[in-house]
Amino acid sequence: MLSIRNIVKEYAKHRALDDVSMEIERGTIFGLLGPNGAGKTSLIRIINQITAPDSGEIYFNGEKLNQNHISKIGYLPEERGLYKKMEIGEQMLYLARLKGLSRADATARIKYWFEKMEMQSWWKKKVEDLSKGMQQKVQFVATVLHEPELIILDEPFSGFDPVNAEVIKNEILELNQKGSTIIFSTHRMESVEELCKHIALIHKSHKILDGSVKSIKNSYRNNTFHIGVNQSIEQFNLQTADVLATKTNDDEGVTHTLKLKDGYGANALLQELIPLTELNYLQEVIPSINEIFIKTVKE
């Protein structure tokens, strides 16, 4: 769907993107992650053809990115706004027509979305009369109105209350099911785990991580387990694992964090533990995306 190849973007003295490449598959929800100032927005602006890269290329459906693709992309920027004095309906119509829709098409689709999002009565209202959350809703609808193949959402949930955030999340999933590919840039890691199938992590202008959420999580497994036991096992010198941490809790006994030694598996650990103590549970530690994010950024 979208192939980003060796993108370099430089500002006066600062290199915002350094040889960044990634492949975004059709129909996926792609999480573009990175700390502030990493270069996410620069990359998104290049995909939207707001700015051009110094070198490197982007292919959209196998074609080199060009002006014809603008109408196939919907972009919700992080810093977003609307004309304050313009009526909502008229404003939507304007934005949709700028994306190349005819007046009739745009009107029909706005009506459809207004009904869907329960905002029929907003048509004649001005933006300044709406709450922040309502404005965000309008903005989201304006982004997807022209049924883009690729939807780029930069922090889509900021400014929404939990109820409306849920509404928007469901809309995103629905759009994805209908075939839209979604690039999703955010700091909110829990929504990344909930929504994204693939992620890429950009840090200090470089892409440092890329892949499906599952495989990344797997690659960050490091044979660490939590076990719950009645009594501490620290006095035993385990053959199969090292004790990394111990937590004693009066009611529930003791929790250990163990790391397997090379050459041993979970079964070997269990076999060693069972004779020693009463085992309540054993659970592999799988890092959350948040932990992976913090870990890789700190490295």
Binding site: Q49, I50, D54, L76, P77, G81
Partner: protein
Amino acid sequence: MNKVFLIIQREYLSRVKKKSFLILTFLVPSLFIGMYAAIFFIYKNSDNTAKKFNVIDESGIFEGRFKNQSNVTFNYSKDSYELAKKDARNHKDLFILYIAKDFKQTGNVEVIAEKKPGISLLSDIENQMEDIQRTDKLLAAGIDTAVLNNAKAKININAKQLTDEGEKDASIGATYVVGFLSAFLIYLSLFIYGAQVMRGIIEEKTSRIVEVIVSSVKPFQLMLGKILGIGAVGLTQFLLWIILSTGISTIGANAFMNQREIKIEQKDTKNNNKIEVTPEKGGVAKQFFKAADTINFPFIIGTFLFYFLGGYLLYSALFAAVGSAVDNETETQQFMFPITLPLIFTFILGMNVIVNNPDSNLSFWLSIIPFTSPIAMMIRIPFGVPAWQLALSIVLLVGGFIFTTWVASRIYRVGILMHGKKITYKELAKWFTYKE
């Protein structure tokens, strides 16, 4: 191009629909008409009633020697001073001109009347009396009457302009007014509409809609659409002004002229004495229109619209660049100065130098350089400008606005996405050199 048109449409409609546009559209022509009306009102009420003077000349020098004017007649009476005073109280339009016996020594003359005599009336009598005395003295010195009469020369300068259609009365006054007015309008409108472009861009930037829009259109298209849309608003306003002003003032002037002629006729029949009022007074109004007729209005309006558009495109691009570089209007100050300087400079020079010397070297250069030509050329045009100079100025102005638009667009595309940073000239130069 379709998208630029959409942007133009939005910019245009959102402004034309505003109340302030409507108010301004009707306010300005009414001001013009008010001005016209005021001028006519002053003419109308100027003192043109017939005045009678009873001259009591105890010195005997001026007996029978005052010349009747169009609306002033002189009678000579032998009444006593006291009697004349009483008479004056009874007749409202009667003035007593009392010349005492000892006039030669004191030079004192009194005008006694119910009404206050006007200054022009008094100075006219003063002139006549001085004239008479001078003649007396010269005659006493032995100068021949024939020589004296010959020495009185009347001079009346009649400026004529040579054109293709032959000689034309060159009405310097009207030329000056038309030049001044059109230059002033351009000067004013460049500021008004340029500032509108700037404010519009700042609004888009601070409301953060700009990033949404530039994901649909190129920044250059957005800038161009805004400039053209607001320019169209300006043109609409001017066209409405021209139509309204000429329409209403023609109707008004016609009605006024007819009314005046009827009045004069009435007066003549009533008084039944032949006072030559019509040619003099009706003449002023006619002269005014005759002078206006010598000016080629279609040509001036045409060039005016061109120089407004050209100047507007040139300057609004610069205003656009400034708007894109700042976060709010208070920050624009530092960048505004170099933009407004050439405008103010030309306007001041125009009022002082170009008007007095429309063909000087300075006037020529000011009307050729694109940054100053919209104002300078408008002052020169009513005086007549060689075709090659006009052509050169037009070509350079077109080149000029293409150049400023290009420069501005390079700053604009970077500026609109920058927030929360105080921008310096150095920074602007850096943006200019950025690649796409």
